[in-house]
């Protein structure tokens, strides 16, 4: 059944809040061993921050994704840009049933 778009929009803050709570719990759980064991050894200042590597993952992924998207606007082209080098027949290294 198709979801009502208005209803979906209304649910959005609740869903985001739910995810946020889940994330907080997860990071707390993951950070707990470090907090208990005092095992963290910071070579630089920032890697001693609370849940630093989780924050790194959270920031690095969107940053790289949007950087790739931005660069994609400049460098992504149609597949025939360099001319069509593909053969009509399938290469011999593929499954015989396919050929």
């Amino acid at each position: 059944m198709k979801q009502d778009p208005d209803k979906s929009r209304m649910n959005f803050p609740n869903r985001a809040l739910k995810w946020l709570v889940i994330l907080m719990v997860v990071f707390l759980v993951i950070e707990i061993p470090l907090l208990i064991s005092h095992a963290r050894h910071a070579y630089f200042k920032i890697d001693g921050w609370f849940a630093f590597y989780a924050i790194l993952g959270f920031l690095a992924c969107p940053a790289l994704t949007f950087l790739a998207r931005g660069l994609g606007v400049l460098v992504r082209r149609d597949e025939s840009t360099f001319g069509n080098e593909d053969d009509k027949t399938l290469p011999e290294d593929l499954d015989e049933q396919l050929r």
Binding site: P33, A60, R76, T81, L94
Partner: protein, 598 residues
Amino acid sequence: MNNFADFPPALILLLGALLVPFLKPSWRSVYVILLPLATLFYVLQLKTGTGSQFNLFTFTEEPLEFLRVDKLSKAFGIIFSLNAVAAFIYAFYYKKSTQHVAALFYIGGAIGTVFAGDLLTMYVFWESMAVSSTFVILARNTEQAKGAAFRYIMIHLVGGLLLLAGVILTIARQDGSIAFNGFDFETANHAGTWLILIGILVNCGAPPLSSWLPDSYPAASVTGGLILSAYTTKTAVYTLLRGYPGWEPLIWIGCAMAVYGVIYALMESDIRRILAYAIINQVGFMVCAAGVGTHDAISGATAAAFCHILYKSLLWMTTGVVLYRLGKSNLCDLGGLHRTMPVTTVFFIIGCLSMALPGTCGFTSKNIIIHAIEHEHLFWPWLLLEISAVGIFLAVAIRLPYFLFFGKDKGLTPQDAPSAMLGGMALLGFFCLFFGFAPGTLYDLLPHEIDYHPYSIAKVTIVLQWILATGITFIFLKKWLTPKPGISLDFDWFYRKGAVQFYRAADTTLNGANALAKRTFIDGFVKWTCNFFESGASRSTAWLMTPIWMLQGHNAEEIDSLQQSIFKRSKRGAFQIGITAFCAVILLGLLSIIFLLE
């Protein structure tokens, strides 16, 4: 001095390859597995500190060293042989000898390079790799493969020439010594070592000399791509670890490779091109470690290269199964394959997780490099490599399996992998987990003893934190990571498109100048000169005679006829001899009278 107590292990593959075309196809598939297996056993029994030398050239002061066994060369020799065994088990279905022979020469060249003890031997094996790997690409026999192979060999010939120039200059600077040991950044910083370094970086896939890798590897066959993915870049890493430890520029080159590889991997939609860019990313870590140059960094890079060969080959194998069964490699055309290819999916996930997850070889190896960089307090390289590690996990370990095996079902129902392919994948999958659970076995192979314990609470927690964050972030970023059809322009644009434009510009200007010169000189001046000497005399005669004929009373038609007669006679050279002789006698008589009067 001839001391062949131990022969180079490359000989097993190089000489063994010569027999391949003469064997029956069924025997051939078994034979090509036995050759690297024999090489593996031979390498394992080689004792460190041994070697074999051979006086081949009289112009070198030292003998050529075909075999130098130390822990660094032995570690690379083991993984090269082991990977070759798995690759040929996987390629059991492929019966044609061309690719097998080329692949055996290529792997033999790689093993020869890592056991070479001097610059000349290293160079010869290095170049043999370039030539034989071109035939591995060509073996697919498609137009795309032919084009990629041509570009590949051109780039590698340039790299090889730079390497040769560097080798010659370095030998000259070393007073004729061909020794290949670590070049010191302070004392051996000259044109020769820099040329060698550039030649090596071409094979590493360092930008802007990197685009040959994503161009050629995906153009090779299912097994060709698998074999190529392991040797060229890792041999280059070996030579960096051997020759350039502590060369600081390599730290930044490595970081640039890591970031560049991850951004392109996130953009790409072709599964084999994604893996090709992931190779550049991972090799960046090793190049960076070579630049750091400490014992931990060198051992870390060796461990990373060792394990990278294992899990990257496993990923090439699994994606190769998809290509083999469906003939497709673009994520836009694929999806939902886990339903019909469950075993391949499992092996793919093992390969993906082996990049970082605790319990796999990536966790126990790559983190040594990070650890070494932390110890040297290199903040920016550390941060860039950490970001790259997160990014490549997102691109290869999450995005790729999601859109390939899960995600939207495209209605494809291929069979799972054939049993031989499964055998190859199982072997590598086993070692991916084995070196993850028993890292001590791996650490015993490393060139320097390291004080590194991967399974500490801090190290496991740190990796789990960013892996989890990456996984959760993917849910939100899925929309922006959805593959789109098309290709990404890379540095190859300059020689693929740019060179075409250059050719056209040269065609227009140079051929235009040529055409102008032809019109002016060939068609104009030369033609006029020929005409002048051909008919100038007869036209002058006709022009001089016309008033005389008019005075004699000839009409216009007769004059025209007389003129035509002169032209014809001139062309034939058939003036009447009597008249000519008479004129000559008159002329001579006149000259005689003038002479006598004087």
